[in-house]
């Protein structure tokens, strides 16, 4: 029995940890409330400049310059009162996700032919890492790292709600923004539901669920989650109608730019021109 108990506890703990991790990394807004440099910028200017910075990263073909841009993002994190360790952890969690599957195969000669660097064998198959393959992959990972850093910086220093509103100002179609906003909200609600359901199951069974039973509960959950979300959407729509919604939400717009925003804007413009002139080759 103690064995079953431990096993089951393990499943539960890992689900709970995963939920908490996601909840914390997607929904924590405490960094956005701090009074650092990026937090003080007008969100409209921020969205434009960070988009420009990400485009810069796409154009750069020189690893040195990429490293400079990457350091620039770290500098920005520092002056925005974001703990560097926290920031690095946050960005490097996402990077393997994006890059591994693309960068890893590109190392080898069947994708990137060229001068071979090293050769090894697995199960009698010969793998050759090529020089252009290696430098291409390094460039790719650097690029991903830098652009992910910029995106994470933007999302850490801007409240999600503000970001959604800015998207509307830039005429991103309302459907996208609504869907985006609702998804965000419902992911949160889902996590709560999952968390509470597990608590509920635990309190009803006293923590002793046999392993396969636990699995059937998980399956059941996913099916009803869909139904619940459907019902929820319908009800929320009713609540919107009740308060006068008729298709187009009227938004509250209260942003102001200051000289600081324009200085920052010019700086980014300079970086962009510099990159186009020197980094593109």
């Amino acid at each position: 029995m103690p064995n079953a108990f431990r096993k089951n506890n393990f499943i539960e703990r890992s689900i709970k940890d995963a939920v908490l991790f996601f909840k914390y990394s997607i929904f924590s807004e405490d960094k956005a409330q701090e009074r650092g440099f990026l937090q003080s910028l007008d969100p409209r200017v921020k969205l434009v400049t960070f988009t420009v910075l990400c485009i810069c990263v796409l154009f750069v073909k020189n690893i040195g310059l990429l490293i400079i841009l990457y350091s620039f993002s770290l500098l920005l994190a520092c002056i925005s009162r974001i703990n560097l360790g926290f920031f690095l952890k946050r960005t490097w969690i996402f990077i393997p996700l994006f890059s591994l599957f693309i960068a890893l195969p590109a190392l080898f000669d069947f994708i990137t032919p060229g001068e071979s660097l090293c050769v090894f064998r697995i199960f009698g198959l010969e793998f050759v890492i090529t020089k252009p393959g290696l430098s291409g992959s390094v460039l790719f990972v650097c690029r991903v790292a830098t652009s992910v850093s910029f995106v994470v910086l933007l999302s850490l220093t801007t409240r999600n709600s503000v970001l959604l509103r800015v998207l509307r100002i830039f005429k991103v179609p309302q459907v996208f923004v609504m869907v985006f906003g609702m998804t965000y909200r419902y992911i949160y609600l889902f996590m709560e539901i999952v968390e509470n359901t597990y608590l509920g199951i635990k309190s009803r069974t006293g923590g002793l669920i046999r392993r396969n039973k636990g699995q059937s509960i998980v399956a059941w959950n996913i099916a009803t989650l869909w139904q619940r979300s459907f019902k929820l959407n319908e009800d929320v729509y009713g609540a919107m109608l009740s308060r006068g919604y008729n298709g187009e939400p009227v938004l509250l717009d209260e942003f102001k730019t200051s000289p600081k925003d324009w200085i920052w804007f010019c700086l980014v413009a300079v970086i962009f021109t510099g990159v186009i002139k020197f980094g593109y080759g």
């Binding site: 709600s161 609702m182 009800d235 929320v236 609540a239 919107m240 109608l241 009740s242 008729n246 509250l252």
Partner: protein, 270 residues
């Protein structure tokens, strides 16, 4: 004081044409009245409120509001829709449904902005309501990250800010601490004193007398079991017990266990 606001005539409603939720309700709400709808879980209180708010429409029977029949097609007319929505506000039972904006502030602004109320005017109202309800500190928070009680207060604020003539409330005091609950009752009573009509669905017998002149009791057959003045219905213990509305108290005297219904009316005699 007897201008008719809502008149419900033999209204039937079923969800998906399968799960019946109301089976022949007759009801009348007059201007300036305070009405409570009581009934056990699942007796159709929430459904009835949604019919009054014209979110659902009866499968059979009619509902009249302000002397005009409520028809789904009429709500395609934006002007009619806007007028109706500014006159009638509904506080949902589940505040998670009511609050859908990214921040509390935007959520409270939502109604007024949709209904074409000036932003400055809306701002003033919000400031006052936030003060009254003690939610000033929550305005920049995300609604889904609040406690249940805080959410409920915000949900009430989102409706009060529209300043509707008729306020429909679905269990406004469920899950609130006694003081907050008191605050909300006071706000409801105050709104009524300003001439607003109040319809509340509730289980909370403590508060019924204060927030209702007249009471409708719905039974398990999803019909009106009885309606009448609050005082009269609330002193009918048998009736209340029949509809799951009394607390049953169990305690021991001299080694013997009794079970008897417990009412709160006697505490309120001053």
């Amino acid at each position: 004081m007897d201008e008719s606001i809502f008149k419900v005539v033999n209204a039937h409603f079923s969800y998906l044409n399968r799960f019946s939720a109301l089976c022949g309700i007759d009801m009348e709400v007059r201007k300036g009245e305070k009405i409570a709808i009581l009934g056990a879980n699942g007796s159709g209180k929430s459904t009835l409120l949604q019919l009054l708010d014209a979110l659902l429409f009866p499968n059979k029977g009619d509902i009249f509001a302000f002397g005009r029949q409520l028809l789904e097609a009429d709500f395609n007319d934006p002007e009619f829709c806007r007028k109706f929505r500014s006159k009638v506000g509904l506080v949902f039972q589940n505040p998670d449904i009511q609050l859908f904006c990214p921040t509390v502030k935007e959520d409270i602004y939502f109604g007024p902005l949709q209904l074409g109320i000036e932003k400055n005017e809306a701002g003033k109202r919000i400031e006052k309501i936030a003060g009254d309800l003690g939610i000033g500190g929550l305005l920049d928070r995300a609604p889904h990250q609040l406690s249940v009680g805080e959410k409920r207060k915000v949900a009430i604020a989102t409706v009060l800010v529209i300043e509707p003539e008729i306020i429909l409330l679905d269990e406004p005091t469920a899950g609130l601490d006694p003081q907050t609950s008191r605050r909300i009752i006071d706000i409801i009573i105050e709104a009524n004193e300003h001439g607003r009509t109040i319809v509340t669905a509730t289980h909370d017998l403590h508060v019924v007398e204060e927030i209702a002149d007249r009471v409708y009791i719905l039974n398990r057959e999803k019909q009106v079991a009885k309606s009448g003045p609050a005082q009269e219905l609330l002193s009918d213990t048998e009736l209340l017990r029949e509809h799951n509305l009394t607390h049953m108290h169990k305690h021991r005297h001299n080694g013997q266990t009794h079970i008897h219904p417990h009412q709160h009316l006697d505490h309120h005699q001053h």
